[in-house]
């Protein structure tokens, strides 16, 4: 029986590694992963999307689905995200949030705070660091965290605030990053559910359980996610 996983874009690299391990253990389990924005996927699930598991970038979406009766399980936290300052033109490891206000930095890319959890946390962090007002004219907004990274990668924006999981992806890891103190923003609690549809599929439930194993946690941690205790 096939099942489908819907996952937030920031999970892309980490989840691929998890899956590789999972497939090795359960070679007869057939499934696909669809990546997208958490908001879009929530809407889709509410309108009959054939997704069996939903890994959101923010626990509020699974909670909403659960409240509306679309889930088979309680929303569970599977990881906590971190954000970093990243650049591929400057050495970001030496940058701080305060440096972002510097005139030499013309463009800062963050994800759209209105709907992307990573964007909202970036905003909170800059507010806490007291630079939010001073960077207003420099901000450009990506649709999601992956697009934000692309804006920086193209060189059009000097720096960006992106997910640690992305900055650790081999293609981007060549450049340094500055990890933002997680005390400066609310936690990026990432939660998941098994949908109504997935609840009837033992394989889907099995994958959900696999995400709680140490093996999965180790991979997630390698990508900079903090694991829930």
């Amino acid at each position: 029986e096939r099942f489908t996983i819907a996952a937030a874009s920031d999970l892309r690299f980490a989840l691929e590694d998890v899956i590789a391990v999972y497939r090795a253990q359960y070679p007869d389990h057939a499934f696909e992963v669809v990546y997208g924005s958490s908001g879009k996927m929530t809407t889709q699930i509410m309108n009959g999307a054939p997704y069996d598991l939903f890994f959101s970038a923010d626990i509020s979406f699974p909670e909403r689905l659960h409240a509306a009766g679309f889930s088979a399980t309680e929303p569970a936290v599977y990881a906590i995200g971190r954000i970093v300052i990243w650049s591929n033109t400057l050495d970001a490891s030496g940058l701080t949030l305060e440096d972002l206000a510097d005139a030499s930095i013309r463009r800062i890319a963050i994800a759209q705070p209105a709907h992307a959890p990573y964007g909202l946390r970036a905003q909170e962090a800059m507010e806490a660091a007291g630079v939010w007002d001073r960077v207003q004219g420099k901000l450009v907004f990506g649709e999601n965290i992956a697009q934000t990274a692309q804006m920086v990668e193209s060189g059009a924006a000097e720096v960006g605030i992106i997910a640690l999981s992305l900055a650790m992806f081999p293609a981007l890891a060549a450049h340094g990053y500055h990890l933002i103190d997680d005390g400066l923003h609310n936690p990026l609690t990432q939660g998941f559910i098994v949908t109504k549809r997935g609840g009837a599929k033992p394989a889907a439930m099995n994958f959900a359980r696999f995400m709680e194993t140490d093996e999965a946690h180790r991979i997630m941690e390698a990508y900079g996610f903090v694991m829930p205790r």
């Binding site: 489908t4 874009s9 892309r12 690299f13 696909e32 669809v34 990546y35 997208g36 879009k40 809407t43 889709q44 509410m46 309108n47 009959g48 999307a49 054939p50 997704y51 999601n144 992956a146 697009q147 990274a149 692309q150 990668e153 992806f169 293609a171 981007l172």
Partner: protein, 228 residues
């Protein structure tokens, strides 16, 4: 082949089917519609003409959202379909086909409307006088004389469907082999920073589109109709 994975080929197949069906269906729908629009001047017809263009002004994902709501299991259309024993249209090939048809409608209707508006009544009268019935007139006179409009309609529709992904992503949910089209695949590749694959597919798409258009436009010009 061409360094493409089976997933790529699957997406190519879906894409090609989608573009082809969309174009064909649109020509079939748009032709009578444009004819009706061009036949007389009336408020109703102008209004319909304006309405046809409306799907264009919404952001594709938003349009996709509304379509999802309408065609999905809880929407008017979807529910009606389910009630009569069919399945709703969200997350299915049929669904993205309907969406593409709606979304590309203005690209088919407008050029055809224009072509029909410019059609000389005399030529149609001549064909009648020579014994051609309505059907015959359409295929032997109206169609050849408005062929340019059909070419514009078909190429714009085809190209636009090829590139569209906002609506499809939302309504289709990028299910491999069903709703995952090439544009969604390329989008995924860029999101995954898998640039090499994205470039390769983009280049292929461009070359394919270029060749198709080159041939279509070339043929269209070769049989240019005498202008007097």
């Amino acid at each position: 082949m061409l360094g493409l994975s089976p997933a790529d080929w699957q997406a190519i197949e879906v894409t090609f089917k989608l573009c082809l069906y969309t174009t064909l269906i649109l020509l079939v729908i748009a032709t009578p519609l444009a004819w009706w629009l061009s036949a007389k001047r009336s408020g109703l017809r102008v209004a319909v003409q304006a309405v046809v263009a409306l799907p264009l002004v919404l952001p594709p994902t938003v349009l996709g959202f509304y379509l999802l709501v309408a065609l999905g299991p809880r929407g008017v259309v979807g529910q009606t379909l389910e009630n009569i024993g069919l399945t709703h249209l969200a997350f299915s090939f049929e669904g993205i086909l309907v969406a593409s048809v709606i979304y590309s409608m203005p690209f088919a209707v407008q050029p055809l409307y224009e072509a029909f508006s410019n059609l000389s009544r005399r030529h149609v009268e001549v064909a009648s006088a020579l014994g051609a019935n309505l059907f015959d007139r359409f295929f032997t006179v109206i169609l050849p004389l408005t062929r340019g409009g059909f070419v514009v309609a078909a190429t714009l529709t085809f190209a636009h469907t090829l590139g569209e992904f906002g609506v499809i992503l939302m309504l289709g949910g990028s299910i491999p082999g069903e709703t995952k089209v090439l544009s969604v695949l390329i989008y995924d590749h860029t999101e995954a920073m898998n640039y090499e694959a994205a470039h390769r597919l983009s280049a292929m798409l461009l070359v394919f589109a270029f060749l198709t258009l080159f041939v279509v436009y070339g043929i269209n010009r070769r049989f240019q109709i005498a202008k007097l």
